[in-house]
Symmetry: C2
DNA sequence: GCGCGGCTACTCGGATATAAACTGTCCGAGTAGCACTGG
DNA sequence: CCAGTGCTACTCGGACAGTTTATATCCGAGTAGCCGCGC
């Protein structure tokens, strides 16, 4: 039960793309250099974000990734779902229907598994909290703790400061 | 990011142990037969529960597992932590300190990573919800939906009905 | 001089290896009861 | 008959394979700009 590191990478890259504030695509190599990540693997991790509609990608020379929408419209839940998939963490295998209960009529199991219900309820709280956090809010907190971050990023990447 | 099936197995076995209501240990074989699980592997899954103090085990003939305490004192969080370990699902690798930021003084990173903070907050909600659910409550829900479950279990396992 | 075609450099996307974790199995250490033996 | 002792059957616990998932890498498809050529 460990979340893929791709989630952290993806979130950081989204913030970075916004900080850079350029309209032209940013290549995987530049993004990877920002955080010392393996470029090819970062590319692979960003692909599901494109499929999820969080980023847009353009191929060829001068290609790269762009934010598909504002950080205010992207939640941590979006990023997590894009990388990890839509499946729930706890997947009830309905073992209660096996073993000595295997011969019970199906009607007995119409009521949901109580353990599954409780686990899903807890997981729902988690997802609700994730969906309540937009990347814009996360970015605001980061800038609150480290003022001048946006300017630093633009200096490092050679983009014009506003 | 998938929770091990051992969590489901462990929770079901705890409920089953309580339903059986016997004071003597119950062997892995009997528990596994209840849900059609591989006995040896179930044994392996129950071992961390013993280390966590949820179950007690006795070796030798007539050996097996017993509940170490009442279901009212066991939460889903206890079971999950026992099986999955105490580590959080999202583990921040602090990639923000690498790449172009590698030469920054450590003082810059005294403030926690904003992404990590947000992810931890959400995960905390999940764990809080898990800790609020005792196995006694889960069992009560199960009996509410399927009255007579306890009596059924005692019939199947040949233990005296109260 | 100017337009056009090919060419190169560079990018994403998916196919392909490698490492780790989860799942599943097996055998040894240890215990409780039972059978046998001796008094 | 009864106590003691050895033995057997059965259990947990951890060591040992098999399989799925995550991590990392590499090469091909495709595009944008550039260079050279022809008009």
């Amino acid at each position: 039960m460990r979340i893929s590191e791709g989630v952290e990478w993806a979130a950081h890259c989204c913030l970075l793309l916004d900080w850079m504030g350029v309209d032209e695509p940013v290549s995987t190599a530049k993004l990877a250099a920002g955080y010392g990540l393996p470029p090819a693997y970062l590319n692979k991790q960003l692909q599901p974000l494109v499929k999820a509609g969080i980023l847009t990608s353009t191929a060829g020379k001068k290609g790269g990734f762009r934010l598909a929408r504002s950080l205010a419209d992207i939640t941590l839940m979006d990023v997590l779902t894009a990388i990890e998939g839509p499946a729930e963490a706890f997947q009830c295998a309905e073992i209660r229907q096996n073993g000595v209960w295997a011969d019970e009529p199906a009607s007995v199991f119409r009521a949901p598994c109580a353990i599954d219900t409780a686990m899903r309820a807890a997981e729902l709280e988690w997802r609700r909290a994730l969906a309540a956090q937009t990347l814009a809010a996360v970015q605001a907190n980061a800038e609150l703790q480290a003022p001048g971050l946006r300017a630093q990023v633009r200096d490092w990447y050679g983009t014009p400061r506003p």
